[in-house]
């Protein structure tokens, strides 16, 4: 086994054609993911945050090879997942799983819980029906449901319970990496807390690595060790959670953090209303994609695109300020 990262993403690009058909050329390209690189170690929770359309979900799908990239590579334990044929890919599939946002549409309404949870097992391992049932019962108890629930259909459960079923399904093949795409966004606050705690317990128990995709900064800060911020298809900042929260370097990260309303009536802040919308990924601005909304922009930002560079040991930023190291605490 190698000492390298579990997951290594190198310059991954995904462009979707816009319009066009079999005979006509596309009218343009949606640059959903436009050159992203990062690595995730075993047992690490890596957070991916950004607003709608920033490419975080597309990136999650690339990691699991649910879609094919336009360019770049993704290595799982050093093996490029896009170079593998179907037969070679199968053993890898067992090791990475996904949890979806919507616990209503991600479970087949006509399958019983038992069948839902063990479906990944059926396609990957040869087990008897009894062995599969035992595994399902054990997992269900791990995620806080009961053995008796195996015989029920998804509609008999609440949203939080359905999300637990989705988690049990992901765990059933003992994966090493789980991509969790907004796993608690559809849940009520008290239920969200239950599921977050469960995800943390399972991570410790199985030494799982998470790629945790969310628009909710507080949830990501709570769960993750490191956080990457995406804007219009690129990572614009990557830091430890500590640095992300206390010393953000990119003006966009700072704006995001300031926009979150704090649950504390003693600290009422004028909501930092950054003007403008996220630009279109079809026709992104020249230079830094954030410059039309950036209060710190100067000439260079409109002309040249900043790359993600190291500012301090564990802190990377793509911003021209202060010779490419972004904002400092004094700014």
């Amino acid at each position: 086994m190698s000492d390298g990262p579990l997951l290594n993403i190198v310059d991954i690009v995904k462009h979707f054609p816009l319009g066009g058909g079999v005979l006509s050329k596309p009218r343009g390209w949606v640059k959903a993911v436009d050159g992203v690189s990062f690595a995730v170690s075993r047992g690490e929770s890596f957070g991916l945050v950004g607003e709608s359309g920033c490419g975080k979900t597309t990136l999650g799908r690339l990691i699991l090879r649910l879609i094919e990239p336009t360019d770049g590579r993704i290595e799982f334990e050093g093996q490029d997942i896009f170079s593998l044929g179907p037969a070679e890919l199968m053993p890898l599939r067992r090791r990475m799983q996904i949890i979806f946002q919507d616990p209503y549409s991600s479970l087949d309404p006509r399958m019983k819980v038992d069948a839902i949870i063990t479906e990944p097992l059926r396609s990957i391992q040869r087990l008897t029906r009894q062995q599969r049932q035992d595994t399902a019962a054990e997992l269900l108890e791990k995620v806080g449901l009961q053995k008796a629930d195996l015989d029920k259909y998804p509609h008999e459960f609440s949203g939080g319970q359905r999300q637990r079923i989705g988690i049990a399904r992901a765990l059933c093949v003992r994966p090493e990496l789980i991509v969790a795409d907004e796993p608690v966004s559809a849940l009520d606050v008290s239920i969200q807390a239950q599921v977050i705690n469960l995800l943390q317990d399972l991570k410790d128990e199985f030494n799982l690595a998470y790629v945790f995709i969310s628009h909710d900064l507080s949830v990501v800060e709570h769960i993750c060790d490191r956080i990457a911020v995406m804007y219009l298809g690129s990572i614009i900042e990557l830091a430890t959670t500590e640095d992300f929260s206390h010393a953000p370097r990119h003006p966009y990260t700072r704006a995001l953090l300031q926009a979150v309303p704090l649950p504390d009536p003693h600290r009422r802040t004028e909501p930092f209303a950054m003007d403008g919308d996220v630009p279109s990924p079809i026709d992104p601005p020249t230079g830094c994609a954030f410059h039309p909304r950036c209060p710190y922009k100067f000439d260079r930002c409109e002309l040249e695109t900043p790359l993600l560079v190291q500012a301090t040991a564990n802190h990377f930023v793509a911003c021209w300020l202060n010779e490419g190291t972004g904002l400092t605490i004094d700014n």
């Binding site: 943390q200 900064l217 949830v219 649950p263 504390d264 003693h266 930092f272």
Partner: protein, 334 residues
Amino acid sequence: MSDKLIDIEDLRVSFHIPEGVARAVDGVNFNLAPGETIGLVGESGCGKSVTALSILGLIPAPPGKIESGKIMFNGQNLLDLDRERLRKIRGRDISMIFQEPMTSLNPVLSIGRQVAEPLMTHQGLSRAAAFEKAADWLDHVKIPAAAKRLNDYPHQLSGGMRQRVMIAMAMVCGPKLLIADEPTTALDVTIQAQILSLMVRLKEELEMSLLLITHDLGVVAQMASRVVVMYAGQIVEEAGVVDLFDYPFHPYTQGLLKSVPRAVRSGEQIKRLNEIQGTVPPLTQMIVGCKFADRCPHSFQLCREKQPTLFRIKNGHRARCWLKEYPERRRDNV
């Protein structure tokens, strides 16, 4: 003239569905003073939206039915008004904005037309005058190049822009009360900040009251002066915003506040979130005692036998919990 703009008394709304009778709103009392912002919070199905829809007479009947209660506004009971008289109030004195701006705007009418419509209906303005005023309002809610966009359709706008159009529509007649049902839930956080600051600005300009329905405790802490917490169709706690966050009385409120992941930057990061065990009971279930008893870490026998009333904790602070009468029953280690 009272100091209350709107006063809801013992409102009960139920839905007659195949599974039985769902008591969506089960005896709700609260009022709003002129210029006040109340945050109405609670989880899905607690009755917060049904309460709001009742104010505007928008409960679909059947299956919905307003069983009893009064909603007093300007000296008249809104529940007694016929459709015609209610329509004169809706959009003029009381307006509402919804969570999903795409589904609550009409996709086949231009945004100018939709903002102008209340002006033509309620103030009898001519088409030209109404469109002119609509353009002013779109500009006021910061739609760029508003005059040129009057003929745009909702699908041509982003989510944040659509919500601005909704707000302009709700505001054109200068309502006394704005009901905002999860107005920023579908929006990204930077856009949410824009919409919230717009609402604060307009509320002050128009001196109107705001009933803000949300599940987001951050939004409540930043916006509301008073907070009403609902659980399973009832108010379980009501207090000034600072009291509610600093001295929550009801175990449900306490649990809710502790289950929010606090950002690291607020300096009080918690390693493990508080969980409220279990789930909300179905609204069709008849519960004899306190509706929260099954999930409550402090519950004792009386809680399961008799429903608590809203006890006065102190001035302006009420909580529906037997712990007010039996404080020694509160456990410390939870």
